[in-house]
């Protein structure tokens, strides 16, 4: 490894960290503006043109705010917790491919399964155990929250912390099952390879419909996002684990949460929606290369793939905000029920389906559609037999006062 490679990696890390934190900042604005529009309001529009500098204002304010450590808090842990929360959220991005811009100037290498001629600048590193890395890192995230809840020496924080550990641990399993099914489908732990295998129309959602549904629910719970935001649950726990955190430390928690939200959206795109693929991408790459040579071709290919990826992620973020605007929050015990009694069995079932079908039917297209059918059927059955209360209209109308017979 020469010094240029190292320099490029350093620059990559720097740029991606910066990009991700900026994305976090603007995600907050995106969320606030979008929520406002969904609720017939305007949203932040005063700071800078059209409210564009709102995140900057928030950042400046939080940065210059007094830094309080509660007297009875466990000081080292209290200070460590935000860092513990935010670092895993940031390092997930090391393995995520945003697109494919080959610095060896050959766009075709992006589809090459053995990746010999690939130097993708839009992914920091293509670990061959990338998915294991992601799973490992996301599970560290829970420590930040739990420790914060414990160290604050506040009962609400503690309840939030306990909720978080219970919630995250129980959804980790379902999440793992869903991701493992994906791994099985593509036979690799490498993110890049999963993406490159989804070339064309056959995106991951087709073989892994069930896996996608489980992943979405489990991942939303994993990043404690509405309707699974029980860890903060402002109305119940006044902020949960972050009740005692102010100024930048609070901002770090906020940041961790939103960056993780972007990360799981990105992962969803990678696993189930073809990553940076979109139909016609290779035709574009071919035409531009023919027209303007391989360098321009690679660059255009890279930029377009990046754009496609970001667009897909944005759609997921939109849905996340939209759900937050529309649905009530789940209750803690129902959340546990959902995780252990529904998602985990379904996840295991999906794993079994995937294994059996792939082994029996090696043909890619056929087994994808069979798995799709099985997934849809299982989902339909699951929805059919669940015991969500049905709306019962108990309201009757009476024209005059009327008392139950037992009441005088």
């Amino acid at each position: 490894m020469d010094w240029l490679t190292i320099l490029i990696i350093v620059i990559q890390c720097f740029v991606i960290t910066l990009a991700v934190t900026t994305a976090f900042a603007y995600l907050t604005l995106f969320e606030r503006r979008l929520l406002a529009r969904l609720q017939n309001r305007v949203g932040p529009n005063r700071a800078g043109p059209g409210g564009f500098l709102q995140p900057a204002a928030d950042a400046v304010k939080l940065f210059f705010k007094e830094d309080i450590v509660p007297a009875l808090a466990d000081k080292p842990v209290y200070l460590l917790a935000p860092a513990l929360a935010v670092i895993p959220a940031l390092i997930i991005w090391a393995v995520i491919p945003f697109g494919c811009l080959n610095l060896n100037w050959d766009y075709q290498a992006c589809y090459d399964p053995d990746r010999s001629n690939l130097w993708n600048i839009l992914q920091i590193t293509d670990l061959n155990i990338g998915i294991l890395y992601v799973l490992a890192v996301t599970s560290i995230g829970v420590y930040g929250i739990t420790l914060a809840g414990w160290a604050s020496n506040n009962k609400y924080s503690m309840l939030g912390g306990i909720r978080s550990s219970a919630q995250l641990i129980s959804y980790e399993l379902a999440l793992g099952c869903a991701i493992l099914s994906v791994v099985m489908t593509y036979g690799t732990f490498s993110m890049h390879e999963i993406v490159s295998q989804q070339r064309g129309w056959l995106w991951g959602i087709i073989p892994q419909l069930l896996g996608f549904v489980i992943y979405m629910i489990a991942a939303t719970a994993e990043v404690v996002r509405a309707p699974f935001d029980l860890v903060e649950a402002e109305q119940e726990l006044t902020g949960g684990y972050n009740t005692e955190y102010g100024s930048m430390k609070f901002a770090l928690f906020f940041m961790a949460e939103y960056i993780k939200l972007i990360a799981i959206s990105a992962l969803a795109v990678i696993f189930f929606f073809g990553g940076w693929h979109f139909p016609g991408l290779d035709i574009l790459g071919r035409e531009v290369t023919a027209l303007a040579g391989p360098v321009v071709g690679s660059i255009v290919f890279g930029i377009v793939s990046l754009g496609a990826f970001l667009l897909k992620v944005t759609i997921f973020l939109f849905i996340s905000v939209w759900v937050r605007a529309s649905w009530p929050r789940l209750r803690y015990d129902r959340l546990m029920d959902l995780g252990w009694k529904w998602l985990l069995p379904l996840g295991l079932l999906n794993l079994v389906y995937t294994t059996v079908v792939i082994v029996l039917i090696p043909d890619r297209v056929v087994h994808s559609w069979i798995l799709f059918g099985l997934g849809a059927l299982t989902l339909a059955i699951a929805i059919g037999i669940n015991r969500v209360p049905k709306p019962v209209d108990n309201v009757t109308f009476v024209n005059d006062i009327q008392l139950p017979s037992s009441q005088g």
Binding site: R163, L237, P328, P391
Partner: protein
């Protein structure tokens, strides 16, 4: 009933915990907590997240309204009633005015009666909208809150049109109304009443059949009819248990007996039934308000205040013409009127339940004693009964479904 109904006090929960006799955790919820609807403090005894016992601690908004009213004349005390149940000031005005009118035995012109019914029904809708919004917000369905407040804004605009103030209207005075209804009142109200049902449908789209909403509300916070009556639960909370008792039907006032409307009742007495009953009540209120608006249109202009000059000041144009009117005017505004000795109790159906007003007169121009039977205050007693054994999250939903207004609880 197997277990006797008890209403614990905070001390009864805190003391064993301090002395270390319990294994449970004591959690103070409030007085500053997002979902206690103001400054209610709850002392919770928790086993994990399960509520073992709880005691509301009220008084953080004790305002001394009853004492202050004793130092004002009857007419001036009207403005204090506004600020008691601040989500339904007109209901409070009405209750107090009816009680004093009962003492005085004055007759109210029909136009004023109809206007009172119309405006209190609008007030009921607006109050239920706040309940709906905050209830949904407590379960994190935040859009409903904003939609509900948007419609409430329209009702407040009607109040501003009528009385010049959005919330604290002080519009119902003893003897009638403060001023006549403005010319564009009826069109504005009818326009609002025409759109309101579709807006209620919209809230229902978001909540009524939503599985997440159902999971949070069905079977939670159940109370049976017997316990509800014993604990003095009133209003929609009582009707959700299946007891069809509504003061507007049982002991009609302001001519409610002449309107056709129905009492919605529930069956299970859980949060969901309370929700459905209140939604149905909003629709009934729209119905009553429509009838009242129709009547106002038929009735045409007329007096809105009692002609009794001993109670209500004369129209202002008279005071420049008649010496007698001028004397009445001065006497009423400086000294006030003097009801005969005696006491009167009147109750009305406020959005929260039975609002009662007990007025004692000693023959002087100031009330000797005014007491309000505040429905929220009494409804709060049943909280412990309903919340035992449930989760903290259920408690949040439960408080919201009881719809307490702390201004009224503490007075």
């Amino acid at each position: 009933m197997t277990e006797p109904i008890t209403v614990p006090t905070p001390q009864q929960i805190i003391e064993p915990a301090i002395s270390g006799r319990t294994e449970t955790m004591v959690l103070n919820m409030g007085p500053h907590h997002p979902s206690t609807h103001g400054v209610l403090r709850l002392v919770l005894e928790l086993d994990g997240e399960v509520v073992v016992n709880l005691a509301p601690d009220v008084g953080y908004l004790h305002t001394g309204i009853e004492k202050t009213m004793e130092s004002k004349t009857y007419q001036k005390a009207v403005v204090l009633t506004d600020r008691m149940d601040y989500l339904a000031p007109l209901s409070n005005n009405l209750c107090y005015a009816l009680a004093v009118e009962k003492l005085l035995e004055v007759e109210i012109p029909e136009r004023a009666q109809i206007a009172r019914v119309l405006l209190t029904e609008l007030q009921r809708i607006s109050s239920h909208l706040v309940w709906l919004g905050t209830h949904a917000l407590d379960l994190a369905a935040m859009s409903v809150f904003l939609y509900a407040f948007r419609e409430r804004e329209q009702i407040l605009d009607i109040f501003e049109l009528v009385s010049g103030a959005r919330m604290m209207t002080s519009y119902f005075r003893i003897g009638g109304l403060a001023y006549d209804l403005p010319a564009d009142f009826l069109p504005t109200v009818e326009q609002f009443l025409a759109i309101m049902p579709s807006r209620i449908d919209e809230y229902e789209d978001l909540l009524t059949a939503n599985p997440l909403w159902l999971e949070r509300t069905v079977g939670v916070g159940v109370i049976d009819a017997q316990a509800a009556i014993a604990l003095g639960l009133t209003g929609a909370n009582l009707r959700a248990t299946g007891v069809a008792y509504d003061v507007r039907k049982a002991m009609p006032y302001s001519g409610y007996e002449t309107y056709s409307f129905e009492i919605p009742i529930g069956k299970n007495g859980d949060i969901y039934d309370r929700y459905r009953v209140r939604i149905a009540e909003m629709r009934q209120s729209v119905k009553i308000a429509q009838q009242a608006a129709e009547r106002l249109r038929e009735l045409g202009p007329g007096p809105v205040v009692t002609p009794n000059r001993k109670v209500a000041p004369p129209p202002k144009r008279e005071i420049t013409e008649s010496m007698e009117s001028l004397i009445h005017h001065f006497k009423l505004w400086t000294e006030g009127f003097k009801p005969p000795r005696g006491d009167a109790y009147v109750s009305i159906e406020s959005p929260r339940g039975i609002l009662g007003c007990y007025v004692v007169s000693d023959g002087s121009p100031k009330p000797w004693r005014v007491h309000f039977r505040a429905p929220s205050f009494i409804n709060l007693q049943s909280l412990a009964h309903m919340a035992k054994g449930r989760l903290v999250a259920d408690l949040v939903a439960l408080i919201a479904s009881l719809d307490p207004v702390l201004g009224e609880v503490d007075r």
